[in-house]
């Protein structure tokens, strides 16, 4: 997205018909310029139709739905104004849902960025096996979320593999998925291990972009490796770290399959994050009005974060130029 602010390097207007060339006979209607404009519209048409039909209209409908109440049995829709928005304030479950969402997102982002950085720094050295390890750490990214989560569901059973390993070193592990706090830890960790590979790769690219003469200069000045990391590496890759953090939070806000498969939002509401709550309200309790209101709340979180990300990116790209 860095190049968003760049202007095209092309000047494909060489095709424009020369204006002085109007002869006595009528010029053909299909000039190259007109053909170009037509081609442009035709080329983007399928994508544009897709976005209008499957994104813009649904968002509009969601707003309309959020202003109405749906009878579960008859499916009849009645306009209720802002009742659903008032219901947000009176929903006794919403505070704990928002709390779970916040804990999940913050937990995922901290672990994901921390571990991603650690792996990138370790793999940024030249040694035999670096590519091998990069492949290993990246591999869960290509494993289907549902399969990955199912397997972790087995391993996290009371008598599963995780507690078996803990037993072997003399620790009695908890029944991970049956207690609120450990269930939250479980969904965070399975999510981080599955997705940290992407951040690792982004950080590796950023690390390789740090000019090596800076390192040499620091070494000549007698700086140790810790000083070099905190004074040179970190400041230079901090834009990437910040942008990646936002991308990771946005991704965490949309983690549905992990939670549905591992805990179904339980025990009680401990792992019911907003996206899962939307699904429950709309498709399990068939409360389409309230479900849409919650979905719009999710959308506003995602939009705020994405706009922040674009703004920051633009600032940095501009800065670099």
């Amino acid at each position: 997205m860095a190049a968003l602010t760049k202007t095209p390097t092309t000047a494909p207007d060489a095709s424009r018909a020369p204006t002085g060339a109007r002869s006595a006979s009528r010029p053909p209607f299909w000039t190259n310029r007109r053909r170009d404009v037509l081609a442009g519209y035709l080329f983007i048409a399928p994508q544009l139709v897709g976005v209008v039909l499957f994104v813009l209209i649904p968002v509009g409908l969601a707003i309309w739905y959020s202003l109405s109440d749906w009878n579960v049995f008859t499916g009849k829709q009645t306009f209720v104004g802002t009742d659903n928005y008032a219901a947000l304030a009176n929903d006794p479950q919403l505070p704990s849902v928002l709390w779970a969402t916040a804990v999940f997102c913050v937990g995922v982002v901290i672990l994901n960025i921390g571990l991603g950085l650690l792996l990138a720094v370790l793999l940024n050295r030249r040694f035999r096996g670096a590519t091998f390890f990069r492949t290993l750490f990246f591999s869960p990214v290509v494993v289907s979320v549902v399969a990955w989560t199912l397997v972790w569901g087995f391993l996290l059973q009371d008598n599963g593999g995780v507690n078996g390993v803990l037993d072997a070193i003399g620790i009695t592990g908890p029944n991970w998925l049956q207690r609120g706090d450990t269930a939250m830890v479980s969904v965070i960790i399975t999510q981080v291990i599955r997705s940290v590979g992407v951040n690792m790769v982004l950080f590796l690219a950023a690390l390789q972009g740090v000019p090596s003469n800076l390192y040499e200069a620091a070494r000549i000045d007698g700086a140790g490796s810790r000083v070099i990391f905190t004074r040179i590496t970190l400041p230079l890759i901090s834009p990437t770290v910040l942008l990646t953090s936002i991308i990771t939070i946005v991704g965490a806000l949309q983690s549905f399959a992990q939670i549905a498969v591992l805990t179904s939002g339980g025990p009680e509401l401990s792992t019911t994050v907003l996206v899962y709550y939307v699904f429950q309200q709309a498709f399990e309790f068939n409360d389409i009005g309230y479900g849409s209101t919650l979905a719009l709340m999710l959308l506003s979180f995602v939009m705020l974060l994405t706009l922040l990300q674009w703004q920051l990116r633009r600032k940095w790209v501009f800065h670099e130029q």
Partner: protein, 280 residues
């Protein structure tokens, strides 16, 4: 200690640390494969092991007899392939036009398309369900194909293609024009062949997105013979609601291994392709 043996020691430490860190990344997959060939009672035996003296493939055959698993496999494959092909076509056309053709409103329309990147599919699923219900498309594959191929990952693909085409030199069009090529021919004969890296990134991303879709099939599909793989994986419970562990793991193995093998073979393309998804 000499500096040489010191650096050897450091390397050993580094590899050991990475090896320990890699355990939770690799062992679950290995355990999945190992447990899928174990007899049922052995799966939760303590201490846990990755080995069985009595391997059996019965869970694999059971996976096919308990659910229409072969059918579900075909569903996932054909939907992912179709979605990927449509996305390649739609996104390379739109990406080319946004990058190389000047037409009135191009910037505004590009912003409209970018909105598609901003809105998560979890937000639009409620109204989309109502729209498809009205169109009589619930419990068909149409919603999965149409929405995935024209919105969602396709918008990201359009963006990736535009960024790729925008960086190519202007002389390409001029040379093509001299040869009398129109826009469709320029796109097909000159730009697409140059765009292989971007196209393969898009293909990998889109295929994986479609292959892993879970919320959408859960919402749209109700008949088991229409299910896709992720959805089918969660339905391996016997009549009493008890999990059929080894059958489930066998099915999961069959879902995961082909993709994993392709990944290991072409890992460079995957890593680069998915790093592009970080754009999102």
């Amino acid at each position: 200690m000499s500096s040489k043996s010191k650096s050897v020691l450091r390397r050993v430490l580094l590899v050991t640390a990475l090896g320990v860190l890699a355990i939770p990344f690799v062992v679950p997959t290995i355990w999945m494969v190992a447990a899928s060939v174990k007899p049922l009672p052995e799966i939760f035996k303590s201490p846990p092991s990755l080995w069985t003296s009595d391997p059996t493939l019965s869970a694999y055959s059971e996976a096919f007899s308990f659910q229409p698993f072969a059918r579900q496999y075909v569903n996932s494959v054909y939907i992912a392939v179709l979605v990927t092909l449509i996305t390649l076509l739609v996104s390379s056309l739109a990406g080319y036009a946004f990058a190389r053709i000047r037409f009135p409103g191009a910037n505004a329309l590009f912003l409209v398309v970018l909105v598609g990147l901003l809105v998560p599919s979890e937000v639009t699923i409620v109204p989309l369900f109502q729209m498809f219900k009205r169109a009589g498309m619930i419990n068909t594959h149409w919603p999965l194909i149409l929405v995935t191929a024209l919105a969602g990952p396709c918008v990201l693909a359009t963006f990736i293609m535009r960024q790729f085409f925008i960086a190519l030199p202007a002389e390409l069009e001029e040379a093509g024009r001299l040869d009398g090529l129109g826009r469709p021919a320029l796109w097909w004969r000159i730009f697409l062949p140059l765009a292989k890296p971007a196209l393969s990134a898009v293909a990998i991303l889109t295929f994986l997105t479609s292959w892993n879709l879970y919320l959408e099939p859960t919402v749209y599909l109700t008949s088991p013979e229409l299910f896709t793989l992720p959805q089918a994986l969660t339905r391996f419970t016997d009549a009493y609601g008890g999990d059929m562990w080894n059958t489930q793991l066998a099915a999961a193995t069959m879902t995961v291994l082909p993709v994993l093998i392709v990944f290991v073979v072409a890992q460079r393309h995957f890593v680069e392709g998915l790093a592009h998804s970080g754009l999102k």
